[in-house]
């Protein structure tokens, strides 16, 4: 970390997005995490994604729980809505907010402790319901704030900084998300922004529960030999299934791809994902196959990254509940109290 605020100076020729903002306009206050923390790279990736999508900061709500990861919303989108909730309770707060105002973009930021331990139930039900959100887990495999005990996502057999062996089985949040019905599931690495930024952009454009597990080395407590979440280990064992180019809606596809090498996935909002396949015959729309692929490679000690699953026709919680199309705060007396004739019609239908 640093005690200095980042100077307000910026590069004189910084590119601007459609709103006239530079990426610096999407920053928050300076990070107080340890120097070199993977979470700060994820913060930078979120900033970059929102900048490239020309998102209006006031259209975003960033919601988090407790932990190193859950501190990070302070460090990006300084002009967005934010809610730092109770440990593990980000999904409930976010679900409530989403039901009340369906027009905002919801970024749920959580960590492996927050989502895989105390908030595991919250994690499960939020994905099961298909809340329209981006659920990012900044996954470092340790409890950084309490000095590096194993978390529930630490791999069995991995070593702590003090040499202890982890004997518990690990929770694979990606596998759980697939089982629980998340309609967009990806895994990435904080040290690979070229992969991470397009995934975040695609997840924001996705209408439904989008889950991203980002492996984020803890430089203070989990970046040593014997760790399976260190920079070196993840770089050596990274098995990327695809590389993603995200294209916003209505834009013609400018890049020419070799036929057969790329799969174009059209999303509901008109945006398109161009997937350059790295693993042959990987089937993006097959939940079962994705699970199998994941477990097969996990058994070999490999970490599968990339966009792993997208549902062809996702539906979100609002569709399931047939809620009103507009945010609740826009409903006024005439809509909320439609009058005697409406009541008469309802009564008549029940007779």
């Amino acid at each position: 970390m640093t005690y200095l605020a980042k100077p307000k100076f910026h590069h004189p020729n910084l590119p601007k997005n459609a709103l006239g903002y530079t990426h610096r306009d999407y920053e928050g206050t300076v990070s107080t995490l340890c120097a070199g923390c993977g979470h700060d790279s994820i913060t930078a990736a979120i900033i970059q994604a929102c900048f490239e999508l020309s998102i209006e900061p006031h259209r975003v709500a960033k919601i988090s729980g407790i932990g190193c990861s859950s501190k990070t919303p302070t460090y990006f989108l300084g002009n967005s809505h934010g809610f730092n909730s109770v440990h593990g309770r980000m999904p409930s707060v976010l679900t409530g907010a989403n039901l009340a105002n369906r027009d905002l973009i919801y970024l749920g930021v959580s960590g492996d402790g927050d989502s895989a331990s105390i908030g595991l139930g919250q994690f499960a039900h939020c994905l099961r319901r298909g809340v329209n959100m981006v659920y990012i887990v900044e996954n470092n495999g340790v409890y950084g704030l309490t000095k590096g005990q194993f978390s529930a996502t630490a791999d069995r057999g991995s070593k702590s900084k003090r040499g202890m062996m982890n004997t518990d089985n690990s929770i694979d949040l990606v596998a759980m998300a697939l089982q629980l019905g998340a309609s967009f599931v990806a895994r990435s690495f904080s040290g690979d922004k070229q992969q991470l930024v397009p995934i975040i952009k695609a997840a924001i454009a996705h209408k439904g529960a989008a889950f991203i597990d980002v492996i984020s080395p803890c430089v203070a407590f989990n970046n040593h030999a014997g760790s399976t979440k260190s920079f070196d280990f993840v770089r050596e064992h990274n098995e990327a299934v695809n590389r993603l180019d995200f294209m916003a809606s209505r834009m013609p596809i400018e890049v020419q791809y070799e036929p057969g090498s790329v799969e174009i996935v059209e999303q509901h909002d008109g945006s398109r994902l161009a997937l350059r396949k790295l693993a042959a015959d990987y089937e993006l729309h097959d939940r079962g196959a994705a699970l199998g692929f994941l477990q097969h490679h996990a058994a070999k000690g490999q970490i599968v990254t990339g966009l792993l699953y997208v549902e062809k026709d996702p539906e979100d919680l609002h569709a399931h509940l047939r809620t009103v199309d507009v945010p609740l705060n826009t409903l006024n007396a005439p809509e909320l109290c439609p009058g005697q004739s409406a009541l008469d019609r309802i009564n008549a239908s029940l007779r």
Binding site: Y3, F9, L14, D232
Partner: protein
């Protein structure tokens, strides 16, 4: 691209834009930090060593450092480097005890220095402490040359000149006042071991147009008039004055005229306002005193009546550019303009003049009748004769004269030690980590937006009444400290060690200027396309280091780096460090001796 060799003295020197741009390579950020700490005498001595005349230059320097200043690129105005130099001179304590003492033993070698201006005095300053007997010849009574005769006193008071020329003469340098050299042959016959010509460019160019002879009584050559003013021979001028010319001499002329009775003073230039040779701040100072500058007017004729000047007629021109971008002034087709006036000051350029150097004594001259001088060694074609300052390559400025003086002193010292003057050791370079603690650096790295502070001026009505009243009052301590804090400390370098890097991106993310990228290597042009921020300033280097685990390279574009050290604060492994670069220029004496065999071995 290949790995950047940061051990080469020039690499980090170029990053310190001000120091690189300074002909004498003064360590600017180092003395600005000392000013911020209130260590004025230390700041002064760093300047004195490098540019000999800090108090004089702090008021009059052409400041090539300021347009180069990085602050200019990242904010919109450079640090007021020149005026901070003056602060060091204004607030220092008595520095006489810190100056070198005249040597106890002379080395028996005698050096003649022609002209008592900045070039000669620099040579004397460098050589006298080494034991050389230095004798300065000057036609005037006091040392200083053009510094004393041509710069108006309201910009540079006499006591500053007396003080700083005094420091040089106090080193045991002999000053022969009123002794103008009129024969080089005769001088050489006196058996000097070396002769240095620092006689300046003393001849003001005239303007030969109709009416020049008839109205001669009221037409004055700018630099001659300025020295007459300086010596008190001239104390008034007509009510309406036209100054011809767009250089700094013209600016000094018009401002002096304004103080000697010129109520309506106009400056008229042939070129456009932007292309004028005068420094922007000097034009600003003239305009501030109510002097309009008229452009694109070519003088055609001096008008006169009964042998008395009545004015000047000008033809209006416009600029046209040919295919090669060369400018030509062509008639604009407008009616001529007449400026009625009582006096004209002609400041349209200066020329060198060497009628006193015989052409048969081994000093060769070129087609333009300028001596042939080696730009590095300042040697002429005569083995014992060296040139410097305006005498060497035509009119430049004080700081160039100082730089020439240092180089000539090195050459003279080497020659008289029997060494090859072309074999010049590179400057000594030092890189020292500035880390004091986890988040603590030995310099102030908390950079904030802060606009340039203005130097307080004397009230205009008071200033215009007295030609000796200095216009600029100089920064007070509070302003000086604020302005000093604007310096970005570009000499505190970002030094990268790939072996320590874990490629966590922390430096990339925190860098406020997006200077740092990790990418695939390529040729420079290609690499510049792939950086995190547009890399358009090709004059600035890319710092490239390979040896990373992923096979990528670290590329840092030096262009707009704030030297805030956040990359180093954020680096978890210490792969980035902030190291202070200090460059010791090679001056006459020990540092210019050829390396010993042992030194050569260790360098290899």
């Amino acid at each position: 691209m290949k790995n950047t060799d940061i051990a080469a003295p020039d690499y980090f020197h170029k990053v310190v834009d001000c120091q690189w741009a300074c002909p004498a390579h003064t360590p600017v950020p180092e003395y600005i930090r000392l000013i911020a700490h209130g260590r004025y005498s230390d700041a002064y001595m760093i300047n004195w060593k490098s540019n000999v005349f800090p108090g004089i230059l702090g008021r009059t320097c052409d400041r090539p450092c300021e347009p180069a200043c990085r602050r200019d690129r990242v904010e919109n105005e450079p640090v007021a480097i020149c005026r901070l130099k003056r602060v060091a001179a204004d607030y220092k304590d008595d520095v006489t005890a810190r100056l070198p003492r005249p040597p106890q033993h002379k080395n028996g070698k005698r050096v003649a220095l022609i002209g008592g201006g900045p070039a000669s005095l620099t040579v004397a300053r460098d050589l006298a402490p080494l034991g050389y007997a230095c004798v300065v010849f000057d036609g005037d009574q006091k040392a200083g040359g053009m510094i004393r005769t041509q710069i108006p006193k309201f910009r540079l008071p006499d006591q500053v000149i007396d003080e700083e020329t005094g420091y040089v003469l106090g080193l045991g340098v002999e000053f022969r006042a009123g002794r103008r050299i009129d024969s080089m042959k005769a001088l050489l016959a006196e058996g000097w071991d070396a002769v240095f010509v620092g006689s300046g460019a003393p001849r003001g160019r005239d303007l030969d147009i109709p009416g020049r002879k008839e109205a001669a009584a009221n037409i004055h050559i700018g630099i001659d008039w300025l020295s007459s003013v300086s010596f008190g021979h001239v104390s008034k001028i007509g009510r309406r004055v036209v100054v011809l010319g767009g250089g700094n001499t013209a600016m000094d002329c018009c401002r002096s005229a304004r103080r000697l009775g010129g109520e309506h003073v106009d400056v008229v230039v042939r070129s456009g306002f932007e292309e004028m040779k005068a420094s922007p701040w000097e034009k600003e100072d003239a305009q501030h005193e109510g002097i309009p500058i008229h452009n694109y007017l070519v003088p055609k004729e001096f008008t006169h009546e009964n042998g008395k000047l009545t004015g000047i007629t000008f033809e209006k021109v416009k600029a046209e550019y040919d295919a090669k971008g060369r400018r030509r002034l062509v008639p604009a087709g407008e009616p001529d303009r007449h400026f009625p006036c009582d006096d004209v000051l002609v400041a349209v350029g200066q020329e060198n003049a060497f009628p006193w150097i015989e052409r048969d004594i081994g000093i060769e001259f070129d087609q333009r009748d300028m001596p042939k001088v080696d730009p590095q060694t300042m040697a002429s074609t005569h083995p014992q004769v060296f040139f410097g300052g305006d005498a060497a390559f035509g009119p430049k400025n004080i700081i160039w004269a100082v730089a020439h003086g240092h180089e000539a002193a090195v050459s003279i010292d080497k020659m008289l030690n029997g060494e090859d003057i072309a074999d010049r050791p590179t400057p000594a370079v030092e890189l020292i980590s500035q880390k004091m603690g986890i988040h603590e650096w030995s310099y102030d790295n908390d950079i904030a937006l802060d606009q340039r502070y203005k130097v307080p001026l004397r009230d205009k009505t008071v200033a215009l009444r007295d030609i000796k009243a200095e216009v600029e009052l100089g920064f007070d301590v509070a302003l000086a400290v604020k302005e000093a804090h604007r310096c970005l400390n570009c000499d505190v370098q970002t030094v990268f060690a790939s072996t320590l890097c874990i490629e966590c991106d922390a430096c990339v993310d925190i860098c406020p200027m997006d200077c740092i990228s990790f990418t695939q290597n390529g040729e420079e042009a290609e690499l510049r396309e792939h950086l995190n921020a547009p890399s358009l300033n090709l004059a600035q280097s890319l710092y490239v280091q390979d040896g990373l685990k992923t096979g990528r390279v670290m590329v840092k574009d030096e262009d707009v780096c704030l030297h805030c050290g956040l990359c180093a604060e954020r680096c978890p492994t210490g792969a980035w460090d902030m190291q202070k670069f200090y460059l010791e220029m090679t001056h006459a004496g020990k540092s210019c001796r050829p390396p010993t065999p042992a030194q050569r071995r260790s360098a290899a």
